[in-house]
Symmetry: C2
Subunit: 193 residues, 2 copies
DNA sequence: CATTTCTTGTACCATACGGTACATGACTTC
DNA sequence: GAAGTCATGTACCGTATGGTACAAGAAATG
């Protein structure tokens, strides 16, 4: 017997309902009873379909990963836009009130990651990779991409706790403008030398 | 009857033992049974002294706040050092393996803050204020202080999850060097104009 | 010394959790 | 239509949790 002991084929939309419930709760720490109430199916059947609570969490993470990949796809950004407008668009999308639950949920997964959950760590790594690739389309300097990633994470924490998205926005803008300024400057130097 | 229903005078060192146990666990989510085992006192007596589980958490947060204030006191930094060396020293201290539990614990409090706990929110606000004041001693530009705060938080998340303190270190250094470069440049401009 | 108050251990309670046993009915397949 | 499989509800189990009842010593206080 391999790792997945048993997991029947899920009814249409069940997994999405679970992810939606988790997002609304802003955490994966929903009891099976609460979850079952939310998705309109008995706890009994949840276990029946998924096999275990852990399996629910695991599959929910995978599905969330897919959703995020679609939500933050490169194509969804205005093509050919400057780095600054692109990052600002990303930040606006991340802090969209309608997506707050999703942001909370991803932060909850991050917590599980720093608490040692292997699945959560995988999720985090993948998420970082996704964002790095996305940013890399607009920012050539890898060090700057790295810095933006750090700022984004910190800004998300600040936003979730204080409800204020402005500090993050300002910091991101600062990073981008100083970078573009420096790049332009080096350009000019190289050209006038 | 006011808010604190009952809380006897605590035995010497009890609160510190609790904070130490929380730090070792890296979270406030320790059951009373586990906590009692750690501090060598019965669960019965924990409730007796503190009044409730919630009170334990609350007082532990306050004590942790004191500890951090002492640990990151301005005097503890090399006086008259440059902004960069100061921030690097802070980062080194924050990511000291011996303090990993404390860092985990503060992040756990942050999680409680974004989950709505009023006490945790207060802790977070105070913590931000403390760091901002500390950084303000070395960095005059408030926007830069704000940015460093965001980077620090993001860097802490990255460090806790991946175990790698280098990305944070690099990003912090980047912020500082570009800032000092810009400041020096403006200085020169102003002087040579 | 008698009485009251404080301290502590043991045993317990109610609740919530993830998960299961079992029964019952529906559906398929020969 | 008999036999087996699947889907589902109800009732339950074992465990962990925060917290309490109660009793019995220990210490203070008249």
């Amino acid at each position: 017997m391999t790792s997945q002991a048993k997991s029947r084929r899920l009814p249409e939309g069940l997994l999405d309902s679970c992810v939606a419930a988790f997002a609304e709760a802003g955490t994966l720490d929903l009891s099976l009873d609460q979850l079952s109430r939310h998705v309109g199916i008995s706890k009994r059947m949840l276990i029946h379909y998924f096999g275990s609570r852990e399996a629910i969490e695991h599959r929910a993470m995978l599905r969330l990963e897919d959703n995020l990949r679609a939500h933050f796809a490169p194509e969804s950004l205005p093509a050919g836009s400057s780095a600054e407008t692109a990052v600002m668009a990303l930040w606006r999308r991340a802090t969209d009130p309608a997506s707050k639950g999703v942001l909370l949920l991803t932060m909850d997964v991050s917590r599980r990651a720093w608490n040692g959950s292997a699945a959560a760590r995988r999720f985090y790594r993948e998420q970082q990779r996704l964002w790095a690739a996305l940013l890399g389309r607009f920012v050539s300097d890898k060090a700057v991409v790295e810095e933006i990633l750090q700022v984004l994470q910190g800004a998300a924490v600040t936003y979730l706790i204080t409800g204020d998205a402005q500090p993050g926005k300002r910091s991101l803008k600062r990073v981008l403008t100083t970078w573009t300024a420096r790049v332009g400057q080096e350009h000019r130097k190289r050209h006038t030398r």
